[in-house]
Amino acid sequence: MKPAPYVLSTTDMAESVIKVEKISKSFGPIRAVQDLSFSVSEASCFGFLGPNGAGKTTMMKMIYGKATCDRDCRGTMDIFGFDPRTDELAIKNLSGVVPQEDNLDEELNVIQNLMIFARFYNLPGAVAKQRIAELLDFLELSEKTRSKIRELSGGMKRRLVIARALLNEPRLLILDEPTTGLDPQVRHLIWDKLRHLKRQGTTILLTTHYMEEAFQICDELIIMDKGLAILQGNPRQLQRDNIEPYVLEILDGQPIDELVRGDLLDSVRADISHEVSRLYADEIDDLQQIAAALHSDNYLIRQSNLEDVFLKATGRSLNAAQ
């Protein structure tokens, strides 16, 4: 695939191409997005994490005009110099969108789906055909050119939707849960493609439930809950700043009161759900000491990850929207 048609300089890298300031959105009494602010620099990947109903999708939809912010919202949005409220078409013209659901046209086959979309972008026939061939190749779908949508696997459909979003060589790629429900091979393939696009200068916004996904490809992320930004920053930084590096997971629900005593009370933090107790600590030795005293070997000591940060930030219990 050809690189995006402009040259990336080092000064561009630092420049914010998306600036969102205090944007709010309500659905009746539910405040889906509350006073959200963030900025995204060019050719970077920005992630929205959060439980279902946190407002991630709504925020992304507001960026390309599929949702509107509250009428009394005083906030501002600047997407590559355009405001979605007045310049919806310009933003759509420079963006590619991968919605949460694979809304492909089931009545058309693979290439027809893409050709119809090429027409939406006013691409001349010959250009469209060549671009489609390149994209199908890029997403490893060339063999499926004439297949019916029904014949595609979940992973193929997802890749086809991504191909569709790339038709107009977007400067901004918006992906709503790009790899939910896909097998590890496809997920890794999609991550590779996204890294490739980012290197070519595409700015990427995505929502995800997968902490690993965020860790793998996001340069910056927001953890949202109930419409509010809870944590924001670089994934590695967030992990360093917000969670102890080691976890002991005791998987059979043994009572831990007797295990964590004395000095350990200060150095170990416990997070107990019904069946699993998780003990977080800065020193792995503390956890090994506790593990040694366990009656069974049904435990695991591991490094903490972004998921631990996420659960610490948003809580373990489900809310009504989930």
Partner: protein, 262 residues
Amino acid sequence: MPPSNARLYPPLWRRLYSVWFRHVRVYTRHLISNGFPPFLEPLIFLGGIGLGLGDYIGRMDNMAYIEYLATGLLCTAAMWTAAFECSYGTFIRLEFEKVYDGMLAAPITAENLIVGEILWAGTKGVFFSFAVLCVLSLFRIIHLPHALIAPFVGFLTGTMFGALSLLITSYVKTINHFNFYMTGLLSPMFFFCGVVFPISKLPPQVYPIAQILPLTHSVRILRAVYLVQFDALLLWDVSYIVLFITLISFFAVKRLKKRLIN
């Protein structure tokens, strides 16, 4: 600095055209199953009326009854197809297939999408009227050249019922609600708008209702051109249709947009 080419999105006519084209593409993909029935239906009608009923009813409004009914059918074919397309068809695209969500990711506004939908309903009206025209003139039930107005009236009828059906769809929560629309509004129009018998035969209490229903006006325009009998009432029919399309489309766009944009 905003990217200089971002504003080079397709112009309005191009956006409407691409929405319209999407529907044409999907429709023509199953050319036999979609394109054949419109020709078959008037044949069935011919058999049913020509062989049976026609013998019992001689003339109506100075036309052979079969010819009278045939000229009405040129309009109702457009009505039915547009109504189905923009009720069940639209609802399925909106709620089940989520096709619109995909389309709205491209540089197309919700308004473009809905207007494109109405234009497509008008186009189907042209095609269905044309199919009926072909069959009925082939069997010399109706005579050319004046019947050639049919596809044009088909377009107006299709557009009216496309807009009306979209407005209805904007209120519909489950697909079963369309039963009320079909049985409660469209079926009565078929029988009481001058297709099957002249509305002058309606009881005086019902007559004004027929006058405000859209199908009445399509049928009247078509017969007027067909018989070359023009009167002042025709101006009212034309103005009604223009006004109906404008107003109903306006409200359909306004209401349906709320379902497309959160």
